[in-house]
């Protein structure tokens, strides 16, 4: 630990911390643009200038260093005993001296020289570092009378637009493409004040390579100004009108930490949130742009039942009564517990799956439990990021929890479909984006006498169902996901489910109650407590402990 004097504070920081981070840890803002904790540090924005103190031998005193130093590259380390300042400090630094304040003002003035003041039509306004720092550290007026540079607006790739006029050339995006995605599509063209970010182009200006790697969306997040803009979010909403909730991306088994931004009418965007051991600062575009099914107009809003071969909307009481009738009524004599197959979803939360397995084990008394989820995709490896092939957020958790009371036997793949083909009643929970069925799968499901499907969108599965119950997506419920490396992390309810759609575990519980089961959970956290008690390894995974950082399974 290095003992430093930061302004008037005497603080201890880890060796190797830079001044910007050390100040942030102690609630002091050192404004910066080019510095990003996940990238290299060229120190080119000059915004984080701070005033270090040094021992000056001719004066025999500790004085401010002649030059200001950039906070991002000034690394704090324990000094050898004979090099301590004032006998005890490893470093003395001022982040708010008059010199530093003057330097910040000057740099901000330069940054705004060519910056168009088009905040009213800029997507970044409201979450723009240039706005914020100008307001907090800058001048109130411009002295610039000359003509502003007007470089062209550019289309860089499938989801990214570049408004070059707003660019402050911090080169974060270039470094991201070089270091994190390793694809290196971006670079600087021209020189001096004509610097522009661009993709490779031929002499005619036609692009030779587009910014279309699977991490490209991150450059929009790290852009401190409104230069790089996501086409998906362009002109959709002002940042301050959206509510923000910490959640987990449901796009694959990595389990990237995200901030879900939403209004009453739906989810607007997902942004990555830092987690040191899972996704660092990043997320992939599949996850980032994969939320659209949540807002879809096709979402199932009412329960459906099959009348004369057609799926017809009905009400909950009717739908549930149909299922109860099948399992308790006159035909029930033909249905032995082994003829019922309950299939949980890798898209569902641990809580959904726990209630489902309790339903299967305690109420239906069946041991036939299966796991269903999205088809695997491709794995993509980047220098500092991996997109996994498993496109379900909770395969690991669902598998463990569904098998918890069943000797850990969970039917998957061919074994599952073989079993389904011979079953009389199948209760299948799906969820997530529309999932196409393969030939063998639909053949097996067609043979089923009575198929109950819980899903969020009309799909191949619902087409075969006798009763469809509208469930919820990751954005509409509380719960936990377990990722492929054993991290249990929380998702939170943000928007309301459309129509009469209900949280999956509530549907299951309602059904269980109607079938005479004793199950009475009031909220997801209560189920998590039951999981912690009953599922090995999940002892620490209560909602309280999982919090925003997650809990690693033991």
């Amino acid at each position: 630990m290095a003992f430093i004097k930061l302004n008037d504070l005497e603080v201890e920081v880890e060796d190797g911390t830079n001044v910007v981070e050390a100040a942030r840890q102690h609630g002091i803002e050192v404004p910066h643009y080019c510095y990003h904790p996940g990238l290299s540090r060229p120190a080119n924005c000059r915004m984080c200038l701070v005033e270090p103190y040094v021992f000056f031998p001719p004066a025999g005193a500790i004085v401010p260093d002649r030059q200001l130093a950039t906070g991002c590259t000034t690394v704090l380390r324990t000094a050898p005993p004979d090099r301590k300042l004032d006998g005890k400090y490893d470093f003395i630094v001022q982040t708010d001296s008059p010199r530093v304040k003057k330097a910040r003002e000057d740099i901000l003035e330069f940054l705004l020289v060519h910056h168009p003041l088009d905040c009213p039509v800029c997507d970044q306004a409201g979450e723009c570092d240039l706005q914020d720092f100008s307001y907090r550290h800058g001048h109130d007026k411009s002295r610039y009378l000359e003509v502003k540079n007007v470089p062209p607006k550019k289309d860089l790739g499938p989801d990214v637009l570049l408004y070059s006029t707003r660019c402050i050339v911090c080169t974060r995006c270039i470094r991201f493409c070089d270091e994190v995605s390793g694809s290196g599509e971006l670079g600087l063209i021209h020189r001096g004040s004509h610097d522009e970010i661009d993709i490779p182009r031929n002499h005619g200006g036609a692009p030779l390579q587009l910014l279309d790697n699977k991490l490209a969306g991150n450059v929009v997040d790290i852009c401190p100004v409104g230069a790089l803009i996501s086409k998906d979010f362009l002109f959709k909403s002002r940042p301050w009108f959206m509510k923000k909730t910490n959640s987990i991306c449901a796009g694959c088994s990595v389990g990237c930490n995200i901030t879900l931004e939403y209004k009453e009418d739906g989810v607007y965007r997902l942004k990555p949130r830092f987690h040191g051991e899972i996704n660092q600062h990043w997320m992939c575009d599949d996850g980032r742009l994969g939320y659209h099914y949540v807002n879809s107009d096709d979402r199932l809003q009412l329960p459906l039942k099959r009348v004369d071969g057609e799926l017809t909307p009905t009400h909950w009481a009717d739908a549930l009564a149909l299922i109860t009738e099948k399992l308790l009524g006159t035909e029930a004599a033909d249905v032995a517990p082994e003829d019922i197959v309950v299939i949980g979803s890798a898209q569902g939360t641990n809580e959904d799956n726990y209630v489902l397995q309790q339903f299967a084990h305690d109420v239906l008394k069946t041991t036939q439990v299966g796991l269903f989820g999205q088809l695997p995709g491709e794995e993509h490896k980047f220098p500092q990021f991996t997109i996994e092939a498993d496109k379900n957020p909770n395969t690991a958790g669902a598998r463990t929890i569904l098998g918890a009371a069943n000797g850990n036997v969970v039917l998957e793949g061919d074994a599952l479909w073989e079993r389904v083909a011979g079953a009389k009643v199948v209760y299948l929970v799906s969820g997530g984006p529309e999932r196409p069925l393969e030939a063998a799968e639909s053949a097996a499901l067609e043979k089923v006498d009575f198929l109950v499907v819980q899903d969020v969108l009309p799909s191949d599965v619902t087409q075969l169902a006798d009763v469809v119950l509208p469930g919820t997506t990751f954005a509409e419920k509380d719960g936990t996901f377990t990722n492929s490396t054993g991290w249990v992390q929380r998702i939170r309810k943000t928007i309301d489910a459309p129509g009469e759609a209900r949280v999956d575990w509530e549907i299951t519980q309602q059904l269980a109650k109607q079938l005479g089961g004793e199950m009475n959970y009031h909220f997801a956290g209560e189920i998590a407590l039951a999981i912690a008690e009953n599922v090995p390894g999940y002892g620490e995974a209560t909602h309280q402990k999982v919090g925003d950082e997650g809990v690693k399974l033991t």
Binding site: R46, R143, H194
Partner: protein, 489 residues
């Protein structure tokens, strides 16, 4: 009349001195042989330190001190020879490369021996096609004769020299910009620390030396430290008690251009005055000296009141200017300082690499302001303000008079100082390009303010007489601040 003292340039005019055999006749490589036969590597480093040799590239940093910063335990270590002579007004390295390339190779060999370096990169300015051709030929010849390559002269010393042409950027003459360019990246300076001596080419310790500095090494080794130190003055650094010796030893290749009768490169002892130098260069062309740029276009200008300033590293630094690369540009009474500044600012705005904020957007801004003044569109305020100067009590302060406000001159000074503050000598930029821009901008404007004011007032480019155009020494704050160093006893 001061005489030239030719050391580096002594044999420059010998026919075929660029060939190994002729060079050999003039003591060529004998100094290197003396170094490896008579001295240990550490002895050479000590000799260089004792000689007081200062880097000739521009910063004037002690070469011996620079070498002492190189960690001895990290290998490989590289030598980068900076032959990207891009400072306007400087053209001395070019002649060495084109006419006497073996001298540079000998200097490189001595440096490599002293520092245990096996690989040297010579970064040559792209425009020096002839220089590169001559140096490449000399390297091939020296390799054939066994003075380069593996196991030189059977001593086990390995030295390879690679030449690398630049692509024509001014900033690639800055040592870290040069390193980046050499590594194949965009020529943009690095943030310091770490300095190249610790982390340079390919993240290894690197010594970056100018051609002229390296060419001094054979003579220091060949003729000894005592011989070398007798040339040029040694001042006492008065900040220390007793005064610390501040040597300005050796000769300097002064590149004299502008309004003199015989412009060219003159090799002279350090410590001569401007007046003497103009005399050496055949005297002034024109009536009187209006201004002298002492060290390439980035150096603050000297007025005709400051012609007694000695042209060495220390004296010019204390006179708030710099010797830089020794590119001396003399201007006579016909020159318009606003126009000169515009020319220089156009150059810097064009050459800014655009990496860091103040320089990227400050340099074109300064250029635009000067352009506006030169176009006669400079702004003058309708109100006046108290004038500062030597007040009644004999000290700097409010004189009780009023002066007119020239808004654009204030803006020019303020913007330039925001890139790099010339009064405190601090810069907000990554490299010293920032100060290279604001130094001329602020010094021209302060020392020749009447001419700038006249341009704004008259609405056109006006050239005043020397006496009218120059601020009087008693009004010139920089002149008031100047210190004339004292030589050590």
């Amino acid at each position: 009349m001061v005489q030239e003292r030719r050391i580096l340039y002594e044999h420059l005019d010998v026919p075929d001195i660029n060939t190994f055999d002729v060079f050999r006749q003039y003591d060529g490589y004998k100094r290197f042989e003396k170094a490896i036969n008579e001295y240990q590597p550490d002895d050479i480093s000590k000799m260089v330190m004792d000689s007081g040799l200062k880097g000739r590239g521009g910063a004037g940093f002690s070469t011996g001190l620079k070498w002492s910063f190189v960690p001895k335990d990290i290998k490989p270590c590289y030598l980068c020879c900076n032959a990207d002579e891009s400072e306007p007004g400087t053209f001395s390295n070019r002649y060495v490369l084109e006419r006497n390339p073996h001298l540079l190779i000998e200097g490189i060999l001595i440096c490599c021996y002293a520092m245990g370096i096996e690989t040297t990169y010579v970064y040559i300015r792209g425009e020096f096609t002839l220089g590169k051709k001559m140096l490449d030929a000399a390297i091939a010849e020296a390799s054939a004769k066994g003075y380069l390559g593996k196991n030189i002269l059977g001593t086990g010393l390995d030295v390879d020299i690679y030449t690398h042409p630049g692509a024509g950027a001014y900033i690639c003459g800055e040592e870290t910009g040069l390193i980046e360019s050499l590594e194949g990246k965009r020529g943009q300076p690095r943030n310091k620390p770490p300095f190249p001596a610790v982390e340079g080419v390919f993240k290894k310790p690197t010594v970056v030396q100018n051609v002229e500095t390296l060419c001094n090494l054979p003579f220091i080794v060949g003729n000894g430290v005592e011989w070398y130190t007798q040339m040029g003055p040694t001042y006492g650094d008065a900040r220390f008690d007793p005064p610390k010796p501040d040597p300005n030893t050796g000769t300097k290749l002064y590149c004299i251009s502008g309004d003199v009768n015989k412009p060219g490169v003159y090799e002279l002892d350090l410590g001569l005055t401007c007046t003497e130098l103009i005399e050496v260069a055949g005297g002034l062309r024109g009536e009187e000296v209006k201004a002298v740029i002492p060290g390439g276009s980035s150096a603050p200008i000297l007025t005709h009141y400051e012609l007694d300033t000695r042209l060495d590293f220390t004296s010019l630094t204390l006179a708030k200017s710099m010797l830089g690369s020794g590119g001396i540009i003399v201007m006579n009474e016909t020159r318009n300082i606003v126009d000169c500044l515009l020319n220089i600012m156009k150059f810097y705005a064009h050459e800014s690499c655009g990496q860091c904020t103040p320089c990227r957007w400050g340099t074109p801004w300064v250029r635009d302001i000067v352009q506006r003044i030169a176009d006669g569109k400079g702004r003058q305020s309708t109100i006046t303000r108290p004038k500062f100067g030597i007040a009644e009590n004999g000290r700097w302060g409010d004189t009780g008079e009023t002066e007119e406000i020239y808004e654009d001159l204030d803006l020019l000074e303020s913007v330039a100082n925001n890139i790099a503050n010339v009064d405190t000598m601090t810069w907000n930029t990554i490299c010293v390009f920032g100060i290279a821009v604001s130094w001329p901008a602020v010094s021209y404007m302060r020392k020749f303010r009447p001419e700038f004011e006249a341009c704004i007032r008259e609405g056109k480019l006006v050239t005043l007489s020397v006496a009218e155009a120059t601020m009087k020494p008693e009004e010139n704050y920089a002149y008031q601040q100047r210190i004339i160093p004292r030589e050590m006893e």
